[in-house]
Symmetry: C2
Subunit: 689 residues, 2 copies
């Protein structure tokens, strides 16, 4: 055991050093003109305001939960280690989110500064910005889990509490962040309609910085905390399942995910270094293609290294028996890749998006219907992939050692996430390039440079869409593994959903399932509502500033950017309260009133329904977005035509779909599982009483 | 047993006589002016075209299935009785739908003819039109089930095949009809935009008759066949569960639903006769209120009679033991009532609808978001009611006789549907009043008469919305009972969805659940898409007629109404093919590859997800509709303002939500269950081989 722990810690440490080099490489780049630096400073300050406020709310939440975990989970005994592990998990996740935002809001201006000089330099700077967060967060996750495993090898609750900490941060950064980003974005969009002559990206628009901050909040900190949570959960769940008495696979199987995590970090570093766009690219099309293929090379390299090195590492740890777990891992890896392809099909310029664009000719209503129809249909590949991966991974491990197939499913979840550092780097590249394009636009760069920035940004849109699909599928698979750990912790052997004749247990599970599905719908309702009312408040604030600030409309006076940012931040944190409360209260209510089996039913209900809904929302949103872009490129009457007006409406509906409600469902799916696992000992207690 | 069979057949026969009197009472009324009769004839002919085409497609489908049931279900033996029962179920359901449309398209013009003369007479004529279909279909259902039970007391498959027949018709009339009605409606709406100067309800619009036919197709034949199917399924499932060896409650318990059905018919007749609007009403507000309270009195009377007479009937059949089944029946009855209230809250002029109307001020996108948010939220009461009713009904019967709680759930489903004849009368009143208002509009009646027709119509909108909520909830409860019969037929004792350690069975159930949920999403995608492309074809056809028919624009030449009707009918039948195929193929594929437990998982997945999605769609659609009406009544800038334009877009998106995709999910939920039950013997056969 000891050498695996050392390897994991060593590789993670090496990754942190690697990240430090990346930071240095980014900060060495020039920051561009005075104007660019000024805009960048506003974004940096705005991001800091958001994160400080989030931290304040999160701290209260963390303190309460640390106390609960320490003193209440098993009344009479004090479990300081649970509280500490939870706090560490929170700190690691929030810390990586903070660092990710910090470097992203510095890489953006440097990318913008470089577009005039060097395409390659600009592209790599944006990508390295993303790579910092990717490497640091995954490395911290691995260090945390490995250390806690080494320190408390017989107390799985401690590892699980660490994952619970990551979940809490994801709630704040993904749900709160999602509400922030889309309230700002939709609000800024609508301003043009209510305050004539002030377009979305105009520096006189007081919401413009909030919008740019929002890109970082949603797609850097939000996406990062979400995927990080899945990563930690998948690893922790696999460890718990390996050591569960009913399977008792032994400590080597518990170390397997940690070792694979280390290999994944190495593979990711190789992938990150392999991202080198071709130097000779020129013009929008060529540059976009060069950037896209550079990112693809990175993903292929990391996947290839992972498969080859993973095979030998599995043999090294488990000998001949390592083959089946290794193949289960590959199942997950391949599954993630397939979901990326399907997301691309449904949200890029293929049939479905073209159909939505065409539908715009018959007006906004038909555009909206078509987009929803595409979203509903796009659930087919992810669902089949997750179902297929579950089956294959189970089958493989079950064949190798009968009775332990469940371990295979958990390992498949690990496999989907094992090269996360590379994937996160790709995801976070998007908002940095997007910000760089915004800065280029606002600081009146030459049209060549602006076009280059747009080319980089367009690639980011695709990676962001793929990232969303991937985030959902991995959340689903990780949650499935996590629900299995709930059975271990709650000592449930079977969850029957129907029986003949029926008993109270099945009725409870049935009600649990229904309630779980309901929770996903209610969560979507609340987050959608939060965005529509947040956008409304932004519009009001912008109107107020134009009314009360003389000279603002003429561009003589700087708008009060911070007021808009504070407003959306407050709104986002307030709007998070009820969904956050539901996630805590509903599982507890079901668990205490109907028992652990019913609670397992609830977890599954949330998982099924949330998964379907999240995929629909993410893909509808992405498809509407690109249908609008397709029209703007000149189809169906081009920008300003009737089809374009319809497409703008579809795109605006899609904004909260893909960036707020959809991603928030990932958090819901995972967080209810955490609550169930952490409070499971109490259900047992009540049952005894 | 014999006397209960006689009672059921006697009461059902009496109901048919009652319906004949209603028909005579309607046909005796005057038909109004020449112009009205002309329009009515177009509608009648259009409805006949639609039904003939549907019948042709349905006949092919029926012949194939009769052959399959007769020869293939248990290879080697011939089961003519299964094929015959299926054909009878088809004939009874299609026959009632046909009669319902026939009388509705005659009651509409007479209602329009009466509005100038007598408010009371007009209201009762419209209502009696609905009552004919309600009484006849429920009576035929009861006669069919009772006779088959008496003839084949030891062959439950025969009763189930009868219900399967009803399901097939519901597929054609509800799914096909839903696509027809909304393609015509949305197409007619959009015509105004592309062909300036031709509003939706203008007689020069070639799609206008298709739109009016569509109201009858969707809300008379579609709604009728849907609820009829639930009724027959709930009764048949209860009978099967009562006689299942594991429960073995005895033949009296199998007769209980038939007896309650007879009592429900008596209660419904009492309710129908109690619908007598106050004579003194004058003006829009008063008349609408009078019509609404007259319908409410009818519902209260039928519910009251049902409870009192049901109690004594239960005592008569089961003695003291009858109390708990009776209370389970009341649970369902009360549940249906509560769902009606909640639908009213979310879709009438209360907070949610007002919020959607207000959101229109910020544009169409915010209006759409708010509407979806309301739809998602509106799932809370129906889900909690169905979960609650399930639990209470189970608990009650389980208390009375331990081990047979499942019977209680089935009886609750019967309870929700037992006064169906009255409820259907109320539902079908809506489209008749709607048609009457359309005829009044098109035949240039005086403004007083038009206002009166509008008042009758406005009440119909509310009853239609309530009917939709009720149809979904009763479909869910009836399907739950039906899934239990699948366990009986497939001889499955328990369906485990998770276990520790996991086995292939749970993995199969898990995949089944996921696939079931997926099916609901794909179904919604296909039906939405069918409407958007059907509407597109209607727009093209209207354009063609205006281009090719000189004098049409000036109103000198009659448009070719039938061309539009044939077009949508063909489109609707073609668009039904793929969803219909999926409903057949997917359950069979899951059953044969993963086994009966996995198929049970699929049924549950469809039920959960379909239920949630159907409620969301129905209520979003209803809420958007009334938000638009609220604005048209003068709020937020009134008709023609920005908020109104936004509301029109929301309302158009809502059209296929509430009238096509939402209701189609009811059919999906129920039909997969039928396929599973009917083909269950084959799975067993394959398992043995």
């Amino acid at each position: 055991m000891f050498h695996i722990v050392l390897i994991a810690l060593g590789v993670a440490g090496l990754t942190l050093v690697f990240a430090a080099f990346l930071v240095r490489a980014i900060l060495r780049q020039p920051e561009g003109s005075e104007r660019m630096r000024e805009i960048a400073r506003f974004i940096q300050e705005g991001a800091a305001v958001f994160l400080r406020r989030e931290l304040r709310a999160l701290s209260v939440f963390t303190v309460v939960l640390v106390l609960v975990l320490t003193f209440l989970i098993s009344p009479g005994t004090i479990h300081a280690e649970l509280g500490v592990a939870f706090a560490l998990g929170t700190a690691a996740s929030f810390g990586s989110g903070y660092l990710g935002m910090w470097i992203a809001t510095r890489a953006n201006v440097r990318t913008a500064g470089l577009v005039t000089v060097s395409f390659t330099g600009a592209m790599r700077t944006a990508f390295f910005g993303g790579a910092v967060m990717g490497s640091v967060s995954v490395a911290l996750g691995l260090i945390g889990l490995t250390s806690l495993f080494a320190a408390f090898p017989a107390e799985p609750e401690v590892w699980l509490a660490y994952a619970f900490g990551a979940s809490s941060v994801a709630l704040f950064l993904r749900v709160g962040g999602g509400i922030f980003t889309k309230s700002a974005d939709v609000g800024a969009d609508l301003v043009g309609k209510v305050e004539a002559g002030i377009p979305e990206d105009d520096p006189r628009n007081p919401a413009v910085i909030a919008d740019l901050v929002g890109d970082n909040v949603g797609d850097v900190a939000g996406m990062g905390s979400d995927l990080y949570e899945s990563y930690v959960s998948a690893l922790a769940a696999t460890m718990v399942i390996a050591l569960a008495p009913a399977l008792n696979l032994g400590v080597d199987y518990a170390l397997f995910p940690l070792l694979m995590g280390a290999v994944g970090l190495l593979a990711s570093m190789a992938g990150i270094l392999a991202v080198r766009p071709r130097r000779r690219a020129e013009g929008y099309e060529q540059e976009a293609r060069a950037a896209r293929s550079a990112l693809n090379v990175g993903v292929y390299v990391s996947t290839g290294v992972m498969i080859v090195a993973g095979y030998f590492a599995a043999q090294f740890l488990l000998g001949q028996d390592g083959l089946f777990p290794f193949l289960a891992l590959v199942t997950g890896l391949v599954g993630g890749f397939l979901i990326g392809l399907s997301t691309q099909y449904f949200t890029s310029e293929y049939g479905p998006v073209r159909g939505i664009a065409r539908a715009g000719e018959s007006g906004a209503a038909i555009n909206v219907m078509e987009g929803l129809s595409v979203g509903f249909l796009s659930t087919i590949p992810p669902i089949l992939v997750v179902a297929g991966a579950t089956f294959v991974a189970f089958f493989l491990v079950e064949t190798g050692s009968p009775g332990s197939g469940l371990y295979g499913i958990a390992v498949a979840a690990v496999g989907m996430l094992v090269t996360l550092a590379m994937l996160l780097a790709t995801d976070a590249y998007g908002p940095i390039a997007d910000n760089a394009a915004g800065i280029a636009e606002m600081s009146d760069l030459g049209s060549d440079a602006r076009e280059r920035a747009e080319a980089l940004d367009s690639v980011g849109n695709t990676t962001a869409a793929i990232g969303k699909g991937f985030a959902i599928a991995s959340a689903a698979l990780a949650s499935l593994a996590w629900i299995a750990t709930f059975l271990v912790v709650a000592e449930v052997t079977v969850v029957p959903i129907l029986a003949f004749p029926l008993t109270f247990t099945e009725v409870g599970v049935f009600i649990g399932l229904l309630t779980g599905g309901l929770l996903a719908f209610v969560f979507s309702s609340l987050t959608l509502k939060a965005v529509s009312s947040g956008a409304f408040e932004i519009v009001r604030e912008v109107r107020r500033q134009f009314r009360d600030t003389p000279g603002l409309r003429e561009g003589k006076v700087q708008p009060d950017y911070e007021a808009a940012i504070s407003l959306v931040t407050r709104k986002a944190i307030r709007a998070m309260f009820l969904p956050g409360l539901l996630v805590l209260v509903v599982p507890l209510a079901v668990g205490f009133s109907l028992g652990a089996e019913a609670l397992a039913g609830l977890l599954l209900g949330v998982l099924f329904v949330g998964f379907l809904l999240a995929v629909t929302m993410a893909n509808s949103g992405g498809a509407w977005d690109n249908a609008k872009k397709l029209i703007e490129s000149g189809l169906h009457g081009g920008k300003g035509g009737e089809a374009h007006k319809a497409a703008v409406i579809g795109d605006t509906v899609g904004d909260p779909f893909k960036d707020t409600s959809g991603p928030s469902l990932n958090i819901l799916i995972k967080l209810v599982g955490k609550v169930a696992v952490i409070f499971a000992p109490l259900f047992a207690l009540i049952a005894v009483m």
